[in-house]
């Protein structure tokens, strides 16, 4: 085996030009589970904006109003701790699953793989034919057949890109709002319309042209996966112990002298990133398992055991002991459980009222009343994150202090943030060096109550 493959990317030729990949299709025992998973994921992506949970879109990322709904639970922009727990949990989950299962995400669930291999490539295959026919079509000069095939392919891909782009937009502006917008003129909603075009353009670029280059030169996950994996992580690998020396037996040569690999090259021809898996673990490999199915189909025909290329650990491929439970699995697993527990605990004890007492920057520090009392003009900011109308009351246990709000209890509509004036009146005699600290209790009719310490100001006499 030579190491020349390390000198260059598979998809770039000696002059630096891109080598277009025309992967063949092999339907084997791993293709169908991937097919089912991919279409379930596509279905989930497409229907999620149309599903309602507790009267709201199941997943609604309302960036304009800074409200984010997940299955009936609404998060506000101020709920950053939840965001931290979710993002932290996702990052650790990625670490955990990568250390155990390698690039399972890339091969089975990444939108790049799902949409390209199970939506756009099948369209291409249906119109332009198998890999050899596609190669011939691309190499032949422009003629009527080539033009209509290319037009039909790109037209169909653009249609599906429009569906995907609109669905993507529906997550952010709401499915029903989007339908209403689509019935009007594009100039009435120029930004969403332009975003649809931009998303379509990006998808056209990605799935029509850039394709595997995204995985090999752009995807950050592909870059740092090597530090998340070790020789006991699951990978798609070639059993070189069994396969080498590769080749077909020549006249007079015994089969015993050769390994199981007959060097048919099918594993290379089916690879969507154009690599040769027999060169070992490579950054470009997205673990799509196409080479496993390809090799198994050949092994089956030759009557040899399957699994020359298989899901295994590096140690397993080298004939060494496989260790699934390693320190990193426990560490990642423990941190993941901690994140999940913290998220569940926080969500379960979520307070749907949020209040603040603030002093306006332009307000006078205090005013003297006609009856000799001092008054402080404060502001009470109330966020009602619930779906019910709530009434808020303020009180203090300090004697001789009166709290005045426009309405008591103060009603706040569901999902609103309101700021109301709060006047605190008290006797001048209570001041100590011009200051008085009191505790104000804010409560609502659902059982929420919170104590806020406030420093009142007055004349320092």
């Amino acid at each position: 085996m030579t190491d020349t493959f390390r000198d260059t990317l598979y998809t770039i030729d000696h002059s630096g030009r891109r080598k277009w990949v025309y992967p063949s299709l092999v339907r084997g025992r791993l293709y169908w589970p991937r097919f089912v998973v991919a279409y379930i994921l596509m279905l989930v992506y497409l229907v999620m904006p149309w599903i309602k949970v507790a009267g709201q879109q199941a997943i609604f990322l309302n960036i304009v109003n800074r409200r984010f709904v997940f299955f009936g639970v609404e998060f506000w922009a101020t709920d950053t701790f939840y965001l931290f727990l979710v993002l932290g949990g996702l990052a650790i989950a990625l670490f955990f699953f990568t250390s155990l299962f390698g690039r399972l995400w890339c091969g089975w669930a990444c939108p790049e793989t799902v949409f390209l291999e199970f939506l756009f490539r099948p369209i291409e295959r249906a119109i332009e034919g198998n890999s050899a026919q596609r190669l011939r079509l691309d190499q032949q000069p422009w003629n009527f057949t080539k033009i209509w095939k290319k037009l039909l392919k790109h037209g169909l891909c653009a249609f599906f890109a429009w569906i995907l782009a609109s669905t993507f937009l529906a997550y952010f502006i709401g499915a029903e709002t989007l339908i209403q917008m689509m019935q009007g003129s594009p100039t009435d909603n120029l930004v969403p319309f332009s975003l649809t075009i931009i998303f379509m353009g990006l998808m056209g670029f990605q799935f029509g042209w850039f394709r595997e280059q995204f995985c090999t030169v752009l995807c950050p996950y592909a870059r740092f996966q090597s530090v998340l994996m070790d020789s006991n992580s699951l990978v798609v690998g070639y059993d070189s112990v069994r396969g080498e020396p590769r080749g077909k037996a020549k006249k007079g040569q015994s089969d015993q002298e050769l390994g199981d690999c007959v060097d048919c090259g099918l594993c290379v021809r089916v690879c969507p990133t154009g690599i040769d898996i027999r060169n070992g673990m490579q950054l470009e490999c997205i673990n799509c398992t196409a080479c496993i199915d390809a090799c198994d189909s050949i092994m089956q025909k030759l009557g040899r055991p399957l699994g020359l290329i298989r899901y295994d650990t590096e140690n397993g491929l080298n004939g060494e002991r496989r260790r699934i439970l390693r320190p990193r699995v426990f560490i990642y697993g423990f941190i993941l459980i901690a994140f999940l527990t913290a998220f569940a605990f926080k969500l379960n004890n979520r307070v749907l009222s949020e209040t603040q007492i603030i002093r306006g920057a332009r307000d006078v520090p205090y005013s003297a009343l006609a009856n000799g009392q001092i008054t402080n003009h404060l502001h009470l900011k109330i966020s009602n994150k619930s779906k019910q109308l709530r009434h808020y009351s303020v009180s203090t246990s300090e004697p001789g202090i009166s709290l005045l709000v426009p309405n008591s209890p103060y009603p706040v509509e569901p999902g609103l943030i309101v700021t109301t004036p709060l006047f605190v009146n008290f006797d001048k005699s209570k001041l100590n060096a011009g200051k008085l600290k009191i505790v104000i209790k804010i409560s609502d009719d659902s059982g929420y109550s919170e104590l806020r310490e406030v420093t009142l100001l007055g004349p320092d006499e």
């Binding site: 630096g16 917008m181 019935q183 319309f193 649809t196």
Partner: protein, 166 residues
Amino acid sequence: MNNSSTLSKFQYYKWPLAIVLFFICLAIFHSFLLMTAFSKHPDAVDQAPYEKGIAYQQVIDKIENAYVWGLKTEISISSADPDNQREVSVNILETKTPKLSIDKVTIRSFRANDSSLDQEKELNSVVGDYGNYRQILNLPKGLWIFEITIVTPQGEALVKKQKFLS
């Protein structure tokens, strides 16, 4: 009634229609740009960008070699005879020890906007004088650019010089 139904359907498809129209406009616009480019600027599209890029990188590497090896070159040119023949003398000084083993030195001379007198020749080494190379070149008066390529077992180095010849 029929009109209202047609209008309602038409309204429903406004965005898809607009998207199709957008891409048609985009295709027409790009076709116009391409046609203009091909008719007015046929040289705007480079047929071999990668090959040219690689060749340019090789030139950069040679210039880099001259810098790394500490090569200094002096070029002196004699006055012209009636046939514009001049003796070009290149003296290669280097700061590096041990001295480079020089296999060959070539010179390419050319003038801006006039390729009719471009020439490339190998310089002859002066026996017993390390680094001194000479050659007779046809150099009429004017501004000349010289590219001196020094070939060594380690690779090639390139030095560029410019001289105004009266």
